[in-house]
C-alpha cells in the first residue's frame, strides 16, 4: 500500500498524539505515533485505518474509535482533533474530514469527547447512552402504528416544515457536548424539542416533552447552558443555537402552565 502512495508523490509525514486508554476504569495517556506517507485524498478515519494496520503488523493493539457509515450521517464518529470537535473544517464530521486539511509535518492531537456524561470506554470510544435516555424521556410523538389520517389532511406551512427539518438534521454525535465548556447537552435536546414543537402533530405533548427532556438532561450530569455558542460552531449539521432559545421558552411556558394547573387543582 505504501508503495503506491509513494508513487503519487503526495504523501505527507505526520505525527499523531493519540489518547490511549485500555478500559473504562484504566488510566489513559497520550501516545505518539509517526504517520508517514499519508495521502491528502484520505479521509481522517482512513488515515487512522492505515496507522492501525501498521500497529497490528508491529503487534500493537490498534486504536479503538467509533465509526460506521463514513458519510457523515450515522453520528458514530466523534473525535477531538487538535482541540476541535470533528477537527478544523466547519460543518464536517471526522469521517468526512480529508487529510488535505493538514500539511506535511503537522502534529495532530486526537482525543475522545470529554464530558462527565460521556464516560470513556476505550481509547477514543465513549458511551453516549445518555442521548438515548434523553429521547426516551419525551423526544417523540406518541403515534402508535395504525392507520392515521391521510398525510395531506394536515397541511403544514413550508416554513414550519423547514424549521422542523433544520433541527431534525441532528445526528446525535455529541460534538455539541464536547465543544461546550460546561459539557451541556442543550443543543442536542433543544434540536429535538424544536423539531417536534414546530409541527402541529407535536403540539399535544409539547409541554410535557420540554419538561421531561430537560429534567433528563440534568439528571444525566450534563452541564447547564451559559450561551457560549461553541456548540453551534462545532455542530456538523449546522444546527442553530436558536433552538436553545426555543427550548428555554417552551420550558418556561410549560413550567408556568404546570404551576398554574397545580394552583387551579388546589383551589378546586
Amino acid at each position: 500500500m505504501s508503495a503506491s502512495l509513494h508513487a503519487t508523490g503526495k504523501g505527507m509525514n505526520l505525527t499523531l498524539h493519540v489518547w490511549r486508554q485500555a478500559g473504562p476504569g484504566a488510566a489513559g495517556r497520550i501516545v505518539d505515533y509517526a504517520a508517514p506517507d499519508i495521502s491528502p485524498d484520505m479521509s481522517f478515519l482512513e488515515m487512522l485505518d492505515v496507522v492501525n494496520e501498521r500497529l497490528i503488523a508491529q503487534g500493537e493493539e490498534p486504536i479503538a474509535f467509533d465509526h460506521d457509515c463514513r458519510e457523515g450521517i450515522c453520528g458514530s464518529c466523534g473525535l477531538m482533533i487538535n482541540g476541535s470537535a470533528h477537527g478544523p473544517m466547519k460543518l464536517t464530521t471526522a469521517c468526512q474530514l480529508h487529510m488535505r486539511s493538514f500539511k506535511d509535518g503537522d502534529d495532530i492531537w486526537i482525543e475522545p469527547w470529554r464530558a462527565k456524561a460521556f464516560p470513556v470506554i476505550k481509547d477514543l470510544v465513549v458511551d453516549r447512552g445518555a442521548f438515548d435516555r434523553i429521547i426516551q424521556a419525551g423526544g417523540y410523538i406518541s403515534a402508535p402504528t395504525g392507520t392515521p389520517q391521510d398525510a395531506n389532511a394536515l397541511p403544514i406551512p413550508k416554513a414550519d416544515a423547514d424549521l422542523a427539518m433544520d433541527n431534525a438534521a441532528c445526528i446525535g454525535c455529541g460534538a455539541c457536548v464536547a465543544a461546550c465548556p460546561n459539557a451541556s447537552a442543550s443543543l442536542f435536546t433543544a434540536a429535538k424539542i424544536t423539531h417536534l414543537g414546530s409541527l402541529p402533530q407535536g403540539q399535544p405533548e409539547r409541554d410535557r416533552r420540554a419538561l421531561a427532556m430537560v429534567a433528563q438532561m440534568d439528571e444525566e450530569g450534563f452541564g447547564g447552558c451559559t450561551l457560549h455558542g461553541e456548540c453551534q460552531e462545532a455542530c456538523p449539521k449546522g444546527i442553530s443555537i436558536d433552538a436553545i432559545m426555543q427550548m428555554n421558552r417552551d420550558f418556561v411556558r410549560a413550567s408556568a402552565t404546570a404551576v398554574q394547573a397545580k394552583e387551579w387543582s388546589g383551589a378546586a
Binding site: 485505518d49 492505515v50 497490528i56 479503538a64 463514513r70 468526512q96 470506554i121 438515548d132 398525510a151 406551512p157
Partner: protein, 640 residues
C-alpha cells in the same frame, strides 16, 4: 433431495389476497400478548419499526444492535426518498402501477403477491410517518412534495431533503425509544448476534456478544426476527456502513434457513469514484440527482483528460439519453450502471484511472437557477465537494457505479417467515420484494412495510397457531450454541499469523468485484470458486487478531464478520454460476442480446434459487420456488 418450498401465498384475486389473509389469520388475545417474548435483531427501518409496533401491541420485545445506539443503523444513510402510490400528483399513479413498476424493475424475478402487498401498504407508511413528525418536504401550500426516481414515469417519491433515510429512521427510532421508556422493549446496544438457537425445529433464541465486556449471553424467546440488513460488504468496497455484515443471516442459514438468490446484488450508478488504495468505503450520491443531472462521457477517447468545460457539446455522448430516449437519465439502476461500465471499458471514462463518467448540472442550473438546485441537492453537493475537492456547481460531478444493495437474502414465505419456523426476516435481510433489481426509493418502503404493517399481523398468527414449549437458556441447544461461539472466538485469537483482517477482506472484495460484480461469466465464477476456499484456508492459518475475548476488541469483531463473508462469498458465486441467464443486477456476459441488454430465460430460470446448507464441506442443496405470474405479462424489460 430437495425440499418443497411453500410460499403460503393466499388464494384469491391479487388485490384481495392481503385483506383476505388478514381476516383469516389467527389473533393473539390482547391480554395474552404480554405472555409472548420476541427477539428483534437489528434496529434499522425494519427492525426498529417492528420492535416498536410489536411492543405497542403488547408483546415483550428484546431488540439488539451492534452500534452504540439504535439510531445509527445504516438505514440512516439512505438519501433520496420513499415511494408510495398516493397519486397526489394526479399523474396516473396507482397501487397497480407501483406494483407493476416494481415487478418489471425487478426483471420479473419477484413474487407477485408480496410486491402487490408492498404497493398496497406504501400509502399507509407515509401517513404513519407524518403522524410521527417526519419532516417530509412540502410545497408552499403545505402539502407534501414529490420527486421522480429511476424506473418510473410518475412522481411518487416522498423525501426529506437528501436525508430521507435519516428522517424515517429517526421516526422509527423515536417510536422505539418511546416503547423502551414504557418498558415494552428492552434494548441491547453494542450487542452482536453470533448464533441462532433452534430448539425442536423452531427458532427460540440467539447467542450475542456484549461488545463492551466480551461476555457471551444467551437470550430465549418465542420467536426471533432478523432485520440485519444486506451483505454488500462482501465486496469490501461498497456504500454500506463499515459494520454491515452477513453474520446474523449466515449463522441462521447454517442452522437451516434457506438463502435465496444471493447473486442478486445491486450496483448503484451514482457513487463517487475510488480515489486510491486507502479507500475504505464508497459514497453514494443519491439517484435523485439524475432528475436534473445529465450523464455523459466524451465521444472521443483523446478528450478524456481535458477539462470538461473545454469539451464542446457536439463532442459529448449523453449515452443514457441516446440509448434509452424515453427514460433517459432516469433509466433503472442496473441499466445505468452497466452503461457507465461500457463507456469506461470503451476507454472513454474520466478522472483517475479512467473509471468515471460525468453527471452534469449545468443545464439544470441554467433552467432553474442555482438556488433551486441548492434547495434540492445542497447537502449532496457539499458532500461531493468535501470528498473530491471539486465544485459540482461549476464542474460536472464524476460518478461511477458501486455496490449498494443486495436483493438476495434469507428466503421467506408470504408471512415473512424463513424455512425455520419462528424465524422471521425483514427488510434488506430477506429476498422477497425486489427480484433481480430494486428500484430507487423502494428499500425504505419495504423496510417500513415489513416492520410497521406486515410482521405485526403475521407474527401474531404464528404465535396463535404454534405450540411453543417453555424454553430456557440452560437448554442443551443454548449451551451447545454458546460453546460453538466460544470455540470460534478462541480459534480466531489463537491463529496469530501475519496478515490483518482487513487485508483478507480487501482481497476477498477484489475477487468478488472482478468475478461476481457488475458483469459475470462462467469462467470467472469458476476461478472465484477456486480462489475463495484458498483465501479462507489462509485466513484461518494466517490471520492476525490481537487482544483478547474480554472487553472491546474491534479487530475480533471484524475477524468474525470476515470469516463469515469468506464462507458466504462461495455461495454467491455458486448462485451466479447456476443462473445461466441475465436478469436485473445479475448480468452474465454469455447471455445478452445483440445490443448488449440482459437476456432473460423465463423457460429455465423463472424461479427463486433457495440454497439449503448441507453441512461443513458439503455442497449446498439448491431448492427452487417456481415464480408464477398470473397478473403481469412477462415481457422483455425495455426502457427505450
Amino acid at each position: 433431495m430437495s425440499r418443497k418450498l411453500d410460499a403460503k401465498i393466499p388464494a384469491g384475486p391479487l388485490a384481495e389476497k392481503w385483506d383476505t389473509h388478514r381476516f383469516e389469520m389467527k389473533l393473539v388475545n390482547p391480554a395474552n400478548k404480554r405472555k409472548f417474548s420476541v427477539i428483534v435483531v437489528g434496529s434499522g427501518l425494519a427492525g426498529a419499526s417492528a420492535a416498536a409496533s410489536l411492543s405497542e401491541l403488547g408483546y415483550q420485545v428484546s431488540c439488539f444492535c451492534f452500534q452504540d445506539s439504535p439510531r445509527r443503523a445504516h438505514s440512516i444513510a439512505a438519501q433520496g426518498g420513499i415511494n408510495a402510490a398516493k397519486n397526489y400528483r394526479n399523474d396516473g399513479d396507482s397501487v397497480q402501477r407501483l406494483f407493476y413498476d416494481t415487478i418489471k424493475g425487478g426483471d420479473f424475478r419477484a413474487r407477485e403477491a408480496n410486491v402487490y402487498r408492498l404497493a398496497q401498504v406504501s400509502v399507509d407508511i407515509i401517513d404513519q410517518c407524518v403522524a410521527q413528525g417526519v419532516p417530509f418536504a412540502r410545497e408552499y401550500g403545505g402539502l407534501l412534495a414529490n420527486r421522480s426516481f429511476g424506473g418510473a414515469q410518475v412522481s411518487r417519491t416522498f423525501y426529506a431533503r437528501g436525508q430521507t433515510g435519516q428522517q424515517l429512521l429517526l421516526g422509527a427510532y423515536q417510536a422505539l425509544e418511546k416503547e423502551i421508556a414504557r418498558g415494552g422493549v428492552t434494548m441491547y446496544s453494542r450487542h452482536e448476534m453470533l448464533e441462532l438457537v433452534v430448539v425442536d425445529g423452531k427458532a427460540r433464541g440467539i447467542i450475542v456478544r456484549d461488545m463492551l465486556t466480551g461476555e457471551l449471553e444467551s437470550h430465549a424467546a418465542d420467536a426471533v426476527i432478523l432485520a440485519t440488513g444486506g451483505y454488500g460488504n462482501v465486496f469490501y468496497l461498497s456504500t454500506n456502513a463499515k459494520g454491515c455484515n452477513v453474520t446474523a443471516t449466515w449463522r441462521a442459514h447454517k442452522k437451516g434457513a434457506a438463502f435465496a438468490n444471493p447473486c442478486f446484488t445491486q450496483i448503484h450508478p451514482t457513487c463517487i469514484p475510488v480515489s486510491g488504495d486507502h479507500q475504505s468505503k464508497l459514497t453514494l450520491m443519491s439517484e435523485s440527482l439524475r432528475n436534473d443531472g445529465r450523464v455523459w462521457v466524451p465521444k472521443k477517447r483523446e478528450d478524456c483528460g481535458k477539462d470538461p468545460s473545454q469539451i464542446p457539446e457536439a463532442d459529448r455522448d449523453y449515452y443514457l439519453e441516446r440509448k434509452y430516449p424515453s427514460f433517459g437519465n432516469l433509466s433503472p439502476r442496473d441499466i445505468a450502471s452497466r452503461a457507465a461500465k461500457e463507456a469506461c471499458d470503451d476507454g472513454r471514462g474520466v478522472g483517475p484511472g479512467g473509471r468515471g463518467v460525468y453527471l452534469d448540472f449545468a443545464d439544470a442550473i441554467q433552467r432553474l437557477g442555482r438556488k433551486a438546485i441548492e434547495e434540492r441537492y445542497g447537502n449532496l453537493f457539499e458532500m461531493y465537494q468535501r470528498i473530491t475537492d471539486e465544485d459540482p456547481y461549476t464542474r460536472p460531478m464524476r460518478i461511477y457505479p458501486a455496490v449498494h444493495y443486495t436483493m438476495g437474502g434469507l428466503w421467506v414465505d408470504y408471512n415473512l417467515m424463513s424455512t425455520i419456523p419462528g424465524l422471521h426476516v425483514l427488510g434488506e435481510a430477506n429476498f422477497s420484494d425486489h427480484g433481480a433489481n430494486r428500484l430507487g426509493a423502494s428499500a425504505l418502503m419495504q423496510g417500513l412495510a415489513d416492520g410497521y404493517f406486515v410482521i405485526p399481523y403475521t407474527l401474531g398468527d404464528y404465535l396463535a397457531t404454534t405450540k411453543l414449549e417453555k424454553v430456557t437458556t440452560d437448554h442443551p441447544e443454548f449451551v451447545a450454541a454458546k460453546a460453538a461461539v466460544e470455540e470460534r472466538t478462541k480459534k480466531l485469537l489463537s491463529v496469530n499469523g501475519t496478515r490483518t483482517v482487513d487485508s483478507f477482506h480487501r482481497e476477498l472484495g477484489k475477487i468478488m468485484w472482478d468475478k461476481c460484480g457488475m458483469a459475470r461469466d462462467a469462467k470467472g465464477l469458476q476461478e472465484a470458486l477456486q480462489e475463495i476456499p484458498k483465501l479462507r484456508e489462509e485466513f484461518w492459518r494466517n490471520v492476525k487478531v490481537l487482544g483478547s475475548a474480554e472487553g472491546l476488541n474491534q479487530s475480533l469483531e471484524k475477524a468474525g464478520r470476515v470469516a463469515d463473508f469468506l464462507e458466504f462469498a462461495e455461495l454467491m458465486c455458486l448462485d451466479a454460476l447456476q443462473r445461466e441467464e441475465s436478469c436485473g443486477g445479475h448480468f452474465r456476459t454469455e447471455y445478452q442480446t445483440e445490443d448488449g441488454e440482459a437476456k432473460r430465460d423465463d423457460e429455465r430460470f423463472a424461479y427463486v434459487a433457495a440454497w439449503e446448507y448441507a453441512g461443513e464441506g458439503k455442497p449446498p442443496i439448491l431448492n427452487k420456488e417456481p415464480l408464477t405470474f398470473e397478473n403481469v405479462h412477462l415481457s422483455t424489460r425495455s426502457y427505450k
